[in-house]
Every structure is written in C-alpha cells, then in structure tokens.
C-alpha cells in the first residue's frame, strides 16, 4: 500500500497586519494609557512578541466607564430596529474579515487554525446575527412589553476563545441597549483590539463599545468601578469568587461563567468509534483550554478495556504543533503560566498513583507545549479528578450502573456540562434529568450555537449566555418583577 508522507499545510499569516503597539479604545478612538504602562503579547507557539499593548490604569478605567455612560442615553433611546442594524453590520464585517481574524486568533492564542477558522469565527459572527435579531423583538422575549437595559456593562473575558467570548458578551448587551467596557485577557488582547476597528467600520456610535487592555488589576478596577451597573465575567472560579465578593453590597447585576470538571459518560451500548471521537473532541479541542471540557471520562466497566485501546489508537494520530498548519489537531498551550499549572497537576496525578500515557509525539523546541495525556487508575479523591486542569489531560474512571455514573459525575463542586454516550434515548433523558450541569451533550460534545443557552450550576457560575435566556442578564428585571407582585 502506498504511504503518504506528512506534509505541512501552513496558513499564510500575511493576511494579518499587526501594529507594533496598541492603545486603549475609548469613546471611539485609540488612546494612549494615562500612566503609559504597556505589556507585550506573544505568540505562544514561538514566544515571538506580536505587539505591545497598553495597560489601563484607574484613570483609563474612569474614562472608559464615563464614555460608556455618556453613550448609554442615546444608544438605549435608539429604536430597536436601528440598534439591530448596527449589530447586523458588525456580524457582516466579522464574516468579511473572518479569515484575517482567524489567523490573528491562532497567532495570539495558539489554537489550531482549523478551530479558529471553523469554530471561533463562524460562531462569533452567528452570535452577532442572532442577537441583532433580538434587538427589535425584545417585547417578545418574556421580560414584559418594553424591556429596559441596565446601563453600563463591565465585561471581562478569558483567553481561551477571545473573539467568541467577546461576541457572547457584547452582542446581547448591545441588543438590549446597554453600553460596554470590555477587557480581554492579557495574553490574548489582539482580536478585541481588531474588533474595535470593526466597531468603527460599522459606524457604531463612539462610547457604545470601549475596549481596555491590561491584567487582573485592570479587571478589578473595572468590575469595582462605582458607575458600572452590570458585571459579566468568564474565567476561573477563583477569580469569579473574588468578583462576587468585590461587588457584594453594590446593586450591580452579576453573571459568572466559571470553571468546570465535566464528566463524559460512556455506556456499554455506545458506538465505540463515535464515542472515541467525542472523547477526543471533548478533552483535546482547543488544547483542553475549555471550561466545559470533558476532562473526566466515566466509562462503563464492561467496555473500559476496549474503549481505552481504541482511544489510545486514536490519540496516536493526533498531530501536535504549528497552530497555523491546517493539519494540526493540538496547538500551543496559551502561556508559560498555564503550562506550569498543567505540569503541576499532571505531576500530582502521577504522584498520587494514577498512570499517565501519552502517544509518542515530537514537541517543538520553542513555545509552550504539552502532549495529549490520559490518566488511568484515577480515583475520585485524586486532584486530577477534582481540579480543573484546563489542558489536554484526561482522567479516566469507571462505573457499573447508571446510578453510579450519576453519583460520580455529580461529585464535583462544578456543574457546567456533561456528556452521555448511549444508544438508548430513554437513558439519555434519565441521565440528563439527574446530572447537575447546565449543558448536557448526548452522543456529541462541545456543541455551541447562539440560540442555545450555555452556563453552569453550582461553582461553575450563574447566568446563561446564548438563546432567549441570554438576554436576561442585560435586561432590567425590576419593572417586570414589580408587575408580578
């Protein structure tokens, strides 16, 4: 049989023009930070510096919130159909520039171009389309005949899906008539800064969207700002807790989309090959930098051996390397800090007695990399079964009965998502009823759609993004409650 040698298929980065430095996007223009602070953003696949980015201080945050406050009156007074048209324009420009933005996202984040091109960008555009369509239909959304916005929304997003998380935050906020100050993560600020340019191209009124960059301190200044009406955060449970404490006593509305430790549950009647694809997608998609990743595989004892053999065969074919290579399955770990955290937890797994396995794979010399890893012999007490690793590391546990699967799946402070693999429809629904998680995927995993609400139970946060439910965090519910009493 003829054997095909591997040949790289790199996407050109020539389509992206990254400036040497970026200011803050305040009131419709790029502005230098008031205290002159800057930081560098690097390509995690090469450690090459991509650009210098402004670090916003207290005065900058003040300016951003003030710009959003000034823009709020006219923006919220704009008729819904007109607000909708701005969002439709943004959606269209995101579509037009999607190839450029996909390459940019892969450069700044390290994710495979196949994912930024086929998942992040199409979903981001779709999200703007979906909420554009709500802006002129809010009276039908179930919040009374004329739902009112909250005011200025402070939005802090993570580094794992920078552009998509931006869309999840900005689209519903604007559709309801709020204005926003958004802070992207310090390791992935570039796509949000490019989005600022898209706002200008759409002729969005100045101040409706403000983008400030910086690290955790900037984020803290933003969410604690007294003139902010709404705080929306996606990130770690640890920071989510800090935010919940920081806003306590204020009347700010808060939504938090935090960590997860999802169970991906495979029954003995599941089609093994499909389940293996789902397991691989569940934990290795986006290097496992996914809050809803299926990081705990719960497999029914009778098929555990067969499933593990098939999973290892499949893992041996995963290609780790250059994010811009269209063949790549697993790209770079987003930062040195995240790589250190993955290593620390992975070492803990081995130290606590679980058995690690990785396929032979060559990792590049420069950049941040971690080979796809599966741990067997994991007990529920092990740290790798309890803590969110946020990397390409899968922990495997077994069960015998559906009740035991439910027990183990729910044995976590998290509750973001879960997967169920079985040919039996009634069992899918029985499991779905009992799993304490905000999203249940049956015979599939990591599916997202703007019309489908997403968010967690328990310490995975509260509030939903997507769907009709995704409007609620940006609507003033007080008048509606008033009517109900």
């Amino acid at each position: 049989m003829m054997k095909f040698e591997y040949a790289p298929a790199p996407e050109s980065r020539a389509i992206v023009d990254i400036a040497p430095s970026y200011g803050l996007f305040l009131d419709g223009t790029f502005t230098e930070p008031s205290d002159g602070g800057v930081f560098k953003t690097v390509n995690p696949a090469s450690e090459e510096v991509l650009a210098e980015v402004a670090s916003a201080g207290a005065r900058d945050v003040d300016h951003a919130v003030a710009a959003a406050r000034r823009a709020f009156e006219p923006w919220s007074a704009l008729p819904g159909p007109e607000r909708a048209k701005y969002l439709f324009r943004i959606a269209r420009i995101v579509q037009e520039r999607s190839r450029e933005l996909a390459v940019l996202e892969s450069l700044d984040n390290g994710k495979p171009i196949r994912e930024s091109r086929d998942v992040d960008l199409p979903l981001a555009a779709a999200h703007f389309f979906y909420y554009a369509g709500w802006a002129d239909k809010l009276g039908y959304a179930g919040f009374g005949p004329d739902p009112r916005p909250l005011g200025v929304a402070a939005q802090v997003i993570p580094w794992n899906f920078p552009m998509l998380m931006l869309a999840w935050k900005i689209a519903p906020a604007l559709a309801c008539g709020n204005t926003v100050v958004l802070k992207p993560a310090e390791t992935t600020p570039l796509s949000a800064l490019f989005f600022a340019d898209i706002c200008r191209q759409a002729d969005l009124p100045p101040g409706v969207v403000n983008i400030i960059t910086g690290a955790g301190d900037t984020g803290r200044l933003l969410v604690e700002h007294p003139d902010v009406d709404k705080v929306a955060f996606t990130g770690s449970t640890e920071v989510g807790r800090q935010i919940a404490q920081a806003v306590s006593g204020s009347r700010k509305r808060v939504t938090l989309e935090l960590g997860g430790k999802a169970a991906n549950i495979v029954f003995d009647d599941a089609p093994i090959d499909q389940a293996v694809e789902g397991i691989v997608n569940g934990i290795f998609f986006n290097q496992g930098h996914v809050c809803c990743a299926g990081s705990r595989l719960l497999v029914q004892e009778s098929v555990a051996e067969e499933l593990m053999a098939a999973l290892k065969r499949r893992m041996a074919h995963l290609r780790v390397g250059d994010p811009l290579d269209k063949n790549t399955d697993i790209g770079a770990i987003n930062s040195a800090a995240q790589l250190a955290r993955i290593r620390e937890l992975s070492d803990a797994g081995a130290a606590e007695g679980a058995e690690a396995w990785s396929p032979p794979c060559e990792l590049p010399d420069r950049g941040f990399w971690f080979a796809p890893t599966v741990f067997t012999g994991v007990s529920q007490a092990h740290r790798i079964a309890r803590e969110e690793i946020f990397g390409p590391v899968l922990s495997v546990l077994t069960f015998r009965t559906p009740a035991e699967a439910v027990e183990k799946a729910n044995n976590t402070p998290y509750g973001l998502s879960a997967g169920v693999w079985t040919e039996k429809g009634s069992r899918i629904l029985w499991m779905a009823e009992r799993l304490r998680a905000g999203v249940i995927w049956a015979n599939t995993f990591n599916k997202f759609d703007p019309s489908s609400p997403f968010g967690g139970y328990k310490e995975s946060g509260f509030g939903r993004e997507g769907g009709r439910q995704g409007l609620e965090p940006y609507v003033d519910l007080e008048p509606v409650r008033g009517k109900a009493t």
């Binding site: 159909p81 909708a84 048209k85 439709f88 779709a126 389309f129 979906y130 554009a132 369509g133 709500w134 002129d136 239909k137 039908y140 959304a141 179930g142 559906p402 429809g425 009634s426 069992r427 629904l429 029985w430 009823e433 703007p450 019309s451 769907g467 009709r468």
Partner: protein, 285 residues
C-alpha cells in the same frame, strides 16, 4: 438632454427561478396611478399557476430543510439587495401613487430584516417543552405547513407584498404569489432581487395578471396547503374560502392595520402558516 432612446424592461413571470412569459401568450398594459403607460406585464394562466405550484412543492424539502440560521441569513441578504435597488423601487412606488415612496421602500426593507431575525427565534418563543405528568420528555416545535398561496394586497404593492411573503418563507414554506394587479411592477422587481439573492428557485414564485382569475384557481389547487387572502377582492372572498375547504387549506388574512406600524408585523403571522409538532420520548434507564 440626451437623445438616447432608453431600453425598457419586459416584466415577466417568476417561476422556479426563471422569468418566462405566460404560456398563454397573454399580457396586459400597466399604467401609473395617473394613467401614464408603464409597459406590459404577463397575464398568467391557470397552467402558469400550476407550474408555479409544482416549483414551490419541489423547492419545499430543500428550503424547509435548511437551518433556521441559514434562512435568516438569506432573508437578510434580500434586504441588503433591496437597499441597492432603492431608486428603482422608489420610482415604481411613485408611479403606483404611493404618498412617500422612500418611506415605503425603507419599511419594506426593514420588514425583511425583522422577519429574518425570527428564523431562529420563533420556535423559542412559540414552541417549548411540556411538563407532562409522567416519565416522558415532551416538546413542541414549529414546522412550515408547505406550499402557501399569497394573494398580495392591491395597494401597498411593495410593503404589503413583503409583509405577507416574509412571514411565510422565514419558517420554510414555499410560496406562489399573485402580485397586485393594479401595480405589479414592484413585485416583478422584487422577483428580480430574489433571483439574484440566495433564495433558492421555487421558494417564491410571482404571478402577475388578473386577481379575479388567479385567486380562485389558487384556492382550489389541491397541492397548496395554505392561502393568504389579504389581496382577494371582497366580492370573491366567499368563493375563495369555499374552494379552500376542499383540502382544508389554512386561510390567513393580513391584519387591518396601518401597514407601516409595528402592528402589521407579528410572530403570529409566522405561526399562522406553520404546524406545531409535539414529540414524546420516554425517560428511564
């Protein structure tokens, strides 16, 4: 003044994405509201109408099988293309005697945008899950009813037409439209927009001609699932509604409100041309 002789358009039927003349060879002269001749329009026959129904039926599985998101994108693109042809629509509305042609065109474009956004929302607002008293997962979805005949309003030849066609096609129905007899040209221009948009052939078919002839044929056609009688003349309504009963077509009529107002658009217009399907599934290990 240029002495160039302008090239005039032949207004034709729009069936299955193509622009045939009536197979009957008939046409009628179209005039402006003040009697100026505007050209000729095809006078569709019963056979043309049957061809249009065949095209609509053939287009139904593909169109209704697309994702709601995709249909929404396509309807939004119709609005984009209409914006580019604004001058032509405005001049046709002026010929038809519209009070404020630019307003009429804007309202028609905005109506496409409004209904485009409903594609992936109407099921969320009007469908849902049903908490039945037993171990069953039970949910209700909204599906298009099939081929819809639309007798467009005689006045408001553009906004009235869009207001009736958009809610029909957004959910996945396919349509056979009888254009305003008095002012058919905006409908013909809309057909030309649809032909160059991404709306698949057969989803919207446009017939021009005698409403009095065409409406009863449409009402009696056994492969039409629903009919919108908004543009049926008063003296024909009883006949049309009697013919409709043969295969129990759904009958809808546009609301008697200002077509420019928000009351003239509603998700219930979509629901009126849709079926609710309820699915039961047991829950258990």
């Amino acid at each position: 003044m240029s002495d160039r002789v302008d090239v005039r358009r032949t207004a034709k039927l729009f069936i299955n994405g193509e622009f045939p003349r009536s197979e009957s060879g008939r046409a009628y002269e179209v005039t402006s509201h003040d009697g100026r001749p505007l050209g000729w329009a095809s006078r569709a026959s019963r056979k043309d109408l049957r061809e249009a129904v065949v095209a609509a039926r053939a287009a139904f599985p593909g169109w209704s099988g697309r994702t709601a998101y995709n249909r929404g994108q396509i309807l939004y693109r119709v609005a984009e293309l209409m914006e580019g042809r604004r001058a032509q629509f405005e001049s046709e509305l002026a010929d038809a005697g519209a009070g404020d042609p630019p307003h009429g065109v804007s309202a028609a474009i905005d109506r496409w945008v409004w209904y485009a956004g409903w594609s992936d929302k109407v099921a969320q607002v009007l469908g849902g899950t049903n908490p039945v008293a037993g171990p069953y997962f039970d949910f209700t979805v909204l599906e298009p009813t099939g081929v819809v005949g639309v007798v467009a309003p005689q006045d408001q030849s553009l906004l009235g037409l869009v207001s009736r066609v958009a809610p029909a096609v957004v959910s996945g129905n396919t349509t056979v439209v009888v254009a305003s007899e008095r002012s058919p040209l905006p409908a013909v221009s809309l057909a030309e927009v649809l032909a160059t948009s991404d709306v698949p052939p057969g989803v919207v078919n446009v017939l021009t001609g005698s409403t009095a002839e065409l409406a009863p044929w449409l009402a009696a056609h056994m492969d039409v699932n629903a009919i919108d009688v908004t543009g049926v003349p008063d003296d024909l309504v009883a006949d049309v509604e009697r013919a409709v009963a043969d295969n129990l077509k759904r009958v809808v009529r546009g609301p008697a409100v200002d077509p420019f107002s928000e009351d003239a658009q509603s998700p219930y217009e979509i629901a009126a041309l849709a079926e609710f399907k309820t699915v039961w599934h047991p829950i258990g290990t």
